[in-house]
Amino acid sequence: MANTYATNEFRSGLKVLLDSDPCVLLDCEFVKPGKGQAFTRIRYRNLKTGRVLDKTFKSGEKVEAADVLDTEMEFLYSDGGDWHFMDPNTYEQYSAAKAALGGHEKWLLQGMTCGVTLYNDAILLIHPPHFVDLKVVETEPGIRGDTATGGSKNATLETGAVVRVPLFIEVDETLRLDTRTGEYVSRVKN
């Protein structure tokens, strides 16, 4: 028998199965109109699709707990189809399909530590660090004396990601990038 939570145990952050997908509760509220029936209204995020939805339960209803675990793993390599990670504590290896990367694969460098959401002991989602330092492998030659005008150009990074960078950036420099916005933050001294 799977573990369940009754509505009075609902808390934000709880991981449950809704519509047979793992979901995290964002907000829950006890509502009881006038002399009417009690409900628990929740807002939740479907961890698979990322969609945020609302749902109403009768008070006392139960939902199944989702076996979801947030942990950290080291990125090993990609074989093109799958991305491979290792739990640094157990040395156990896990592979993730492209859907779990959510477009973040372009930030991953071998040896990087990433946040990982496991669902039923398989990788559901990969969360790269908010900031990553990556080396420029290709960009137009730098233009001196143009640091103040705010012009930009494309630079290709060692992971293959292409980002907009200021004109003074040169090949072999290491840059700090914000993976949430995909934007250049600063240069990093080598």
Binding site: N8, E29, F30, V31, K32, P33, G34, K35, G36, Q37, A38, F39, D54, K55, T56, F57, K58, S59, G60, E61
Partner: protein, 298 residues
């Protein structure tokens, strides 16, 4: 806490100045409430009251005249932003039909909260405007389907459940925004212990007060007929049994008082004191106005 103390003192003074006598009735008694949507908290072999209603009506039957009480009440399982298992009720009864109580309620809100005169709306006109369906004449099946379409978990048990859900989902959010809203003439299935309207048996003389996003008060032109009380209690207990809850023996002393000598024509209202303080302070959670909220889990 200062605002709470000020409001309660002012509420007492308001009611005392209008001839209400303050009373105390037992919080602990032998019977649980038969209300289908309330669960009494067991204590000391009996139950804590969910409101002082029955005991106060026994006083009315005994000839008390207008009375009020400010007292803690307990409702099991009700815990949330606007609900606490242990909360404070102010409840008062005046002799005569509802109109006097409604206009007095409006004065009280102005006195305590500085609100402008309340707007009065019938349940039906609000429901029609927000839901687009007549709550009095639409078929039960139509209302149940509509509630389900608006997110009711599963099919509502009956007409009353569908109406309650639709009202809370679609109507309530728009109430009491600029001035307090007094909702009058609830549909008969939601009468609780209000008498049915003289001019339309599809509505009951029940009202609720909404202000600042909160349901503040609920009142009735009180049902006097003992046999009708028995019928309504029996209906509540049938609903409890359908929901897998234990039936509750209706309060025998209350029923006896209704039969002899009977209660006078009177109107009563229960006001949530904690919510009143929330409204006065613009608080968004009961926790902000209750000292030491320490509910057991579950």
């Amino acid at each position: 806490m200062r605002e709470r103390s000020r409001l309660v003192a002012r509420l007492r003074a308001f009611l005392a100045a209008r001839g209400y006598q303050e009373v105390e009735t037992p919080i602990l008694g032998p019977d649980a409430t038969p209300d289908r949507h309330l669960d009494s908290v067991p204590a000391a072999g009996g139950f804590l009251h969910t409101s002082p209603e029955f005991a106060m009506k026994r006083l009315l039957a005994a000839g008390s005249g207008p009375i009020f009480q400010i007292v803690k009440a307990f409702r099991a399982g009700e815990s949330g932003r606007h609900h606490a298992v242990e909360f404070t009720i102010a409840e008062w009864y005046r002799i005569g039909p509802l109109e006097g109580l409604l206009s007095e309620m409006d004065l009280l809100l102005g006195d305590l909260l500085g609100t402008r005169p309340a707007e009065r709306r019938t349940y039906r006109e609000l429901f029609l405007a927000a839901v687009g369906v007549d709550p009095l004449s639409a078929g039960a099946e139509r209302l149940r389907t509509l509630a389900e379409a608006h997110g009711h978990p599963g099919r509502p048990d009956d007409r009353a459940a569908a109406l309650d859900y639709l009202f809370s989902r679609l109507v309530e959010p728009g109430l009491g925004a600029r001035v307090p809203t007094i909702v009058t003439r609830f549909p008969a299935p939601l009468a609780a212990l209000a008498r049915l309207s003289d001019d339309d048996s599809r509505t009951a003389e029940r009202f609720e007060v909404f202000w600042a996003g909160l349901e503040l008060a609920n009142g009735y032109d009180e049902l006097q007929d003992a046999a009708e009380h028995r019928r309504r209690f029996a209906a509540e207990n049938r609903a409890r049994e359908r929901a897998g809850k234990p039936a509750a023996r209706p309060d025998g002393r209350f029923l006896a008082a209704l039969e002899d000598p009977g209660i006078p024509r009177c109107s009563g209202v229960a006001l949530g004191v904690d919510r009143l303080v929330m409204a006065a302070l613009g608080a968004s959670r009961l926790d902000e106005v209750i000292a030491f909220r320490e509910e057991p889990d579950g």
